[in-house]
Amino acid sequence: MPEEIILETRGVTKRFDGFAAVSGVNYRLREGESAGIIGPNGAGKTTFFNLLTGMFPPTEGTVLYRGADITRIPAHGRVGRGIVRTFQLVSVFDSLTVRENLVLALIRAGKEHAVSARFFLEDAWSGNLPDLSAGALGTVGLREKALWKTSELSYGDKRKLEIALALCLRPSVLLLDEPFAGLSDVEIVEVLELIHRVRKDFTLVIIEHKISRIVDLVSRLSVMHEGKLIAEGEPAEVLADPLVRQVYWGRP
């Protein structure tokens, strides 16, 4: 059976004032796989995610989802197709309660469309959203904190909340941008365990600059350096690559 390519880029380049943060990247993601992207700080990993998820259009090149060109489709439209991401700096809504954070994601992924009168006029907590949000929070171990103000959560808990938020959107591709950044060792273990637990349900791409953390998690590793993809393959293979060793450790 040929594996289907779910997400693909062809020669994508992003320039900021002439500086190429991402440069001519050809990338293919197979459905159901877990892939990693590593590279030093400033390599262009986050910018590449931004191009995949529609934060901004590329300067050149195309992005394809299941073979269809989505280069000009804005972020919200890509989420509708199942392309969901988290952010390097945790991005949840501090001014809301923890469970309020999940309401819109749950509705977006549900059957009900977001232009109905209910969306505008019905109490957000009158239907099945309390149960759904409790379930989603249970998955990440935040059930007891459902009614907390999000600003009162620890950074690690906010990270878990952000992952819950992403899961509520029922991703077909989930892109995690440095999900361990800023977490304590204990929290890293918890989040790793969480990702292991849920990743079977979708295709996963994970950015990390510490290689050791994700070698067991991913079946394929891509290395970015100065905006370019410089190596790709099975983790062990890639880590043995002289060019990669040069970039990472300054020696082949």
Partner: protein, 315 residues
């Protein structure tokens, strides 16, 4: 406020305005009520959606002129006229929305101001033939059944009912997923797009709704005064609603009501005791912005000893 009191809030609001009556005349109290409707409309885009407008008088004015013109040219029935004014003001909001809601911060404030100025110019000069220009024009409404709005007590009752309806509607709107969406847009609009929502459409909707409610308050003002002048669309008066919202506490229905009443009281009484009271208003505004952002209602809710974690309110 405890959850029990919160459930009967509409009754409590009605009671509070009835309690104002012994201190004020009917017409004055009605004025307070109408201003509260205006503050509520402003709060939807400022307190909840987080967009500060310097031109909200445009929509109050649209309502005020629409109700008058409708009464004169189409039907003097006050209900139909008010209904028309709401629709007309919302239509103006819907028309300008696509341009306005793309912006944030200073650009949003100033584009609103610019449109407000255009509106002011239109009624003052360009369409002076129809609007009476600087002199304005009187509005005459018919009696409908047993309701005669010439009677200030009847009008008071009607306007109070309108305020309660607005509060109820705002409560529904702000506690719904849409309300949560607006508060999310206030905090981080980009993130909302990554939840799969085309934020533009919802901001547009909020803007048009807010415009309609502002038009509602403009129309009621004309019922109360019987006369429309360009002061109802005067850009200089935008500061009033901003101030009221800040005093009471933005992002809360109760805060808007407190702000509306307190501002009206200040602007009614301060001038009799203090000449150049606007200067004190200015200092008050500075104090609010730098030291007291949560407003009176925000401060009161923070004091509550057994405050449940509140959902459904921005701030």
């Amino acid at each position: 406020m405890t959850e029990r009191l919160r459930r009967i809030d509409i009754l409590l609001i009605a009671g509070a305005f009835l309690l104002l009556l012994p201190f004020l005349k009917f017409q004055r109290t009605t004025d307070y009520i109408i201003f509260c409707v205006f503050v509520l409309s402003f709060d939807l885009i400022y307190g909840y959606m987080g967009r500060l407008s310097f031109g909200h008088m445009l929509f109050l004015g649209s309502g005020a002129y629409s109700v008058t013109l409708f009464a004169e040219h189409v039907s003097p029935n006050p209900f139909l006229s008010v209904l028309f004014a709401i629709v007309a003001a919302a239509a103006v909001g819907a028309l300008l929305g696509p341009v306005v809601v793309r912006t944030t911060g200073a650009a949003f404030a100033l584009i609103n101001l610019a449109f407000n100025q255009v509106g002011h110019f239109l009624v003052l000069i360009a369409f002076a033939r129809y609007t009476g220009g600087e002199d304005g024009m009187s509005a005459v409404f018919s009696k409908t059944g047993f309701l005669d709005f010439q009677d200030k007590r009847v009008l008071f009752g009607f306007c109070l009912a309108c305020l309660l309806l607005t509060c109820w509607g705002m409560k529904r709107l702000t506690r719904s997923p849409f309300g949560i969406l607006l508060r999310m847009i206030k905090e981080n609009e980009t993130r909302v797009k990554f939840l799969g929502y085309d934020t533009f459409r919802y901001k547009w909707a909020a803007y048009a709704i807010s415009a309609g409610v502002a038009g509602f308050s403009g129309a009621l003002s004309i019922l109360n005064y019987g006369y429309v002048t360009p002061s109802f669309i005067d850009t200089n008066r935008n500061v009033e609603v901003i101030f009221a919202s800040l005093i009471g506490g933005a992002g809360s229905i109760y805060g808007s009501l407190v702000g509306g009443v307190v501002f009206m009281a200040i602007s009614n009484y301060l001038p009799t005791y203090i000449p150049r009271w606007e200067m004190f208003l200015g200092f008050g505004l500075l104090l609010l912005v730098f030291r007291f952002r949560m407003g009176i209602w925000g401060a009161l809710s923070a004091l509550e000893a057994f405050r449940p974690r509140r959902e459904g309110e921005g701030g």
